[in-house]
């Protein structure tokens, strides 16, 4: 990112409130002060940090109108929605605001720069306030200093929004650096869902993505976030997500990861109120020399809460995955139920899966478990299907898609689920049956 630092981006420095300027400066300092991760850092264990470079990417000032129009047309994964925003290289290509009815109820859905102008107190309270503790503070700092694209969703007390808000983040330009930001604030007993979609214009544009998503779920709130990551395989991607769950919340996060040359996905759940129920699910399909580096942290600071996590990875060719998960139960968080499961399916002998499922339990009246399995397609199941007349290739494919389906069905939207199946099929179907 050397180039960026030499020429500071001026588009957000104008007319910004002082607090934001301070947060950006602090972020930049954090980015400059912290060293690049090394193989010796526990938080980066097994990741091929030697090949990690974020040099020579730059924010792109303007995408051409043609590209904006064309990509807007291609943004068609979710047709029923409460609002939608499309960014291309962090430039806003389209914005569909909330309905007047929802706006009247106090729902705010705005691009962040606009939200900073119109709702400064709200933004000061929540924007860039929460970063993960999983090893990417340096990159969070860079995000904070450079972010200009992204959306904030604010749902006031008791308001329920049925349809999802959809955010598309595209990359298009050569060696573009993008910093998408999703901020969700759900107040007491409200309900909302958001879909974040990360796409590349084509197979060849190289890009750097450092995305941050912060979910704040107030007492009794129900929040459902879905993430679709299908960058091209020239993209270096970081997604640094946090969820803060207050009492009796019901928060669900489902991520489907298909793209990027290397993707670091950090997902931190902090439970701060009793009775919270947080679920994190992820499906990753990796091919060629892709590397998926997943770090999760389930922090239980309050009693009587439940967290559940299931990460499934299917690996082809020379791809690698790292799943490193930690459940931490604080001394006062009695009656915690926390679960963590990682399933890796190795479809080629050269693929590699690493699992680091961890627990740190400081309370005694808890139910905690983690499981990690890695293996190939089950021979017995294969034999069973073949003995019933299903050809081997078909049986294999059925089993692999069966493996995916456990996560896909959690999307709870037929249209999006079918679109995701299509994305996976397009990319991998031929390989899966070789």
């Amino acid at each position: 990112m050397t180039t960026t630092l030499e020429t500071p981006i001026d588009m957000q420095t104008t007319n910004e409130p002082t607090w934001l300027g301070e947060r950006r400066a602090a972020g930049l300092k954090q980015f400059n002060d912290l060293p690049m991760p090394t193989a010796r850092d526990e938080a980066w264990r097994f990741a091929s940090v030697g090949r990690l470079s974020i040099d020579n990417y730059d924010p792109i000032a303007d995408a051409s109108t043609d590209v904006l129009e064309q990509l807007t047309k291609r943004s068609d994964l979710v047709s029923t929605r409460a609002g939608q925003t499309i960014f291309v290289d962090d430039t806003q290509a389209q914005f569909e605001p909330v309905s007047e009815a929802l706006a009247a109820q106090g729902v705010i859905y705005l691009p962040i720069l606009e939200a900073i102008e119109k709702h400064p107190e709200l933004m000061e309270q929540y924007f860039l306030k929460e970063s993960t503790e999983l090893g990417s503070k340096k990159f969070f700092g860079l995000h904070a200093s450079a972010v200009r694209a992204g959306n904030v969703l604010y749902v006031p007390k008791g308001v329920e929004v049925k349809d999802p808000f959809v955010n598309y983040y595209w990359t298009s330009g050569a060696r573009a650096a993008v910093f998408p930001h999703t901020l969700i604030i759900a107040e007491d007993n409200s309900k909302a869902s958001v879909v974040d979609i990360f796409f590349s214009e084509n197979d060849s544009n190289e890009a750097l993505n450092i995305a941050v998503a912060n979910v704040h779920a107030g007492p009794g709130a129900k929040v459902f976030r879905k993430v679709v990551q299908d960058w091209n395989e020239k993209t270096v991607s970081f997604q640094l997500d946090t969820i803060i769950a207050d009492r009796n919340t019901d928060v669900k996060n489902v991520a489907v990861n298909i793209g990027a040359a290397r993707a670091r996905y950090e997902n931190q759940v902090r439970i701060e109120g009793p009775g919270a129920h947080v679920k994190s699910y992820s499906l990753t399909v990796a091919e060629e020399s892709q590397e998926f580096d997943q770090r999760t942290f389930q922090i239980h600071n309050a009693p009587n809460a439940v967290s559940d996590l299931l990460y499934k990875n299917a690996l082809l060719d020379n791809s690698r995955s790292i799943f490193s998960g930690l459940i931490k139960v604080a001394p006062n968080a009695q009656q915690t139920d926390a679960y963590q499961t990682n399933r890796n399916l190795l479809l080629d002998p050269t693929a590699e899966a690493n699992a680091l499922p961890g627990l740190e339990i400081l309370a005694n009246d808890v139910k905690c478990s983690h499981g990690a399995t890695t293996g190939n397609v089950d021979e017995d199941e294969l034999f069973y299907m073949m003995s019933r007349g299903i050809p081997k290739r078909t049986a294999m494919q059925l089993m692999v898609f069966g493996f995916f389906e456990e996560i896909i069905e959690k999307i709870e939207s037929d249209e999006l689920a079918e679109n995701l199946r299509e994305l996976i099929r397009n990319k991998f179907a031929t390989k899966l049956i070789k």
Binding site: R40, P349, E352, L356, I361, A363, G371, A372, T374, N376
Partner: protein, 472 residues
């Protein structure tokens, strides 16, 4: 009285138990602190061959250059003051050959440990280590006839270099970690065993270790070589008296199982709660060979021990079964390592830990299938039991898998003794403490069966001692 108060009340340990020691009267003493001179002194006393002398000095260099592994390990390690430790002392006695030659005070110590004199009748040979040197060493004549070598490290390296030099420091290189380097520099005592081709030892070989000098680190070195088609079971047990200042125990144990050989290494330890117990244990299993570690850790201030097996030959098997019990002020940081380097290799890890009071138990494991291997399997299970509200447990496994038709499964669970269980037993007339004891015994029972009978009795006794007060 609330549930927890009763439990906490009940789980006070009788710290006086096993708390005995005898006057120190050591002929050789390398003094306090670690310098090149200390190492040279040890070499002189032990009459080391030139290559052993060089090996020690090189190890000292590595030890000094390696940082403490505190980026992942317990910060308590920083409290070890290497300058205040005695690295060698010895009675200056030759390993004794008959029980009558053993000094009376040593005999008395063994009696307190509950090792009956008659036990030697059942044992193939007893290598009882009193501080640095083997104070007692005896092998049954028929074993000697079969060509089994069972001696101390000094004798092994001096008398049988052609057998032991080849594997000495090869399974665990000096630079493996800071403490293996330390041991390589100042090792003394321990057992060197060679079992020739085809010899299957029906009875286990035993060694009892004790520490009995304040500020004295014990750095025993054990190397067991089981030649093709041979079988051996080795047992070690420890109990240490209580000291005023911290004591360091840092052993290195290397096992070599050649083609189709079987080695079983059993440890039951009960260090006093000021001992740093930092041990490196690793076995190498050739084609069709089997290495099995059975490990029970009780006591100590901090134990760091991760027995490992390098599965080097096709069809090799590795196993680690471990029980850890952490009481107030103790941290049991234990685990296992399985390195799969050949096809059709299998490994199994079962770990159970119990945390009492403010005790902390940690499982740290590594399963590695890095190459393009076929048909390898690993199964890992770790279960933790938390007795009190402020007990703590952690699990940090690391698993790498590649290759064809390999399966790895890891499962861990954390639980407490359920209120229903206790209630049920109390309904039937047991006191709460008895019920608690029964539940804890039930938790480890399955694994206890893996231990040889004599040891499972001793182990139950150790766990009962540790739970004392709660278990009536």
């Amino acid at each position: 009285m609330s549930d927890t108060t009763i439990q906490e009340e009940a789980i006070r340990v009788d710290t006086e138990k096993g708390n005995f020691k005898y006057p120190e009267n050591y002929k050789y003493d390398a003094g306090v602190g670690l310098t090149e001179d200390t190492v040279k002194y040890i070499s002189d006393v032990k009459n080391d061959a030139e290559w052993v002398r060089e090996f020690r000095l090189k190890a000292l260099e590595i030890f000094k250059n390696k940082p403490m592994p505190t980026k992942w390990a317990d910060e308590d390690l920083n409290n070890i003051d290497f300058d205040k430790i005695r690295y060698y002392l010895s009675k200056g006695q030759m390993p004794a050959r008959s029980w009558d030659d053993v000094p009376d005070d040593v005999k008395e110590t063994f009696e307190r440990l509950g090792i009956p004199e008659q036990e030697r009748k059942f044992l193939a040979g007893v290598e009882a280590q009193f501080d640095s040197e083997a104070s007692y060493s005896r092998m049954k004549e028929d074993l000697e006839k079969e060509g089994v070598i069972f001696c101390g490290s000094t004798e092994g390296l001096n008398k049988y270099p052609e057998i032991f030099r080849k594997y000495f420091g090869k399974v665990i290189p000096t630079s493996d970690n800071k403490f293996s380097a330390l041991n390589s520099a100042v090792f003394s005592g321990g057992s060197f065993i060679y079992v020739p081709k085809g010899v299957k030892l029906k009875q286990p070989l035993q060694a009892y270790f004790r520490i009995n000098a304040e500020n004295f680190g014990q750095f025993e070195r054990t190397l067991i070589i089981a030649d093709e088609d041979s079988e051996i079971t080795y047992m070690e047990g420890c109990t240490a008296p209580k000291f005023e200042t911290a004591t360091l125990h840092s052993a290195v144990v290397e096992l070599v199982a050649l083609k189709n050989a079987k080695i079983q290494y059993i440890t039951v330890q009960n260090w006093s709660s000021n001992v740093f117990n930092l041990v490196t244990k690793r076995g190498m299993a050739d084609e069709g060979a089997e290495v099995k570690w059975i490990d029970c850790n009780i006591g100590s201030r901090l134990t760091m021990k991760y027995p490992g097996v390098v599965l080097k030959g096709k069809g090799a098997r590795g196993e680690v079964l471990s029980i850890a019990l952490a009481n107030d002020g103790q941290h049991q940081d234990t685990g296992a390592k399985m390195m799969h380097l050949a096809d059709n290799t299998t490994s199994n890890i079962i770990s159970k830990s119990i945390s009492i009071g403010k005790g902390r138990s940690t499982y740290r494991g590594q399963v590695h299938m890095p190459k393009h291997l076929k048909n390898c399997k690993n199964n890992t299970e770790c279960d933790a039991l938390l007795i009190n509200t402020n007990s703590r447990t952690d699990t940090y496994p690391a698993i790498t898998t590649r290759g064809e038709n390999n399966t790895v499964q890891h499962e861990a669970s954390v639980s407490k003794v359920s209120a229903e269980q206790i209630f049920y037993m109390m309904q039937r007339g047991l006191s709460e403490a008895e019920a608690m004891s029964l539940a804890v015994n039930g938790f480890v029972n399955e694994l206890m069966k893996a231990f040889p009978m004599e040891y499972s009795v001793e182990l139950k006794r150790l766990i009962d001692m540790e739970m004392e007060g709660s278990v009536g």
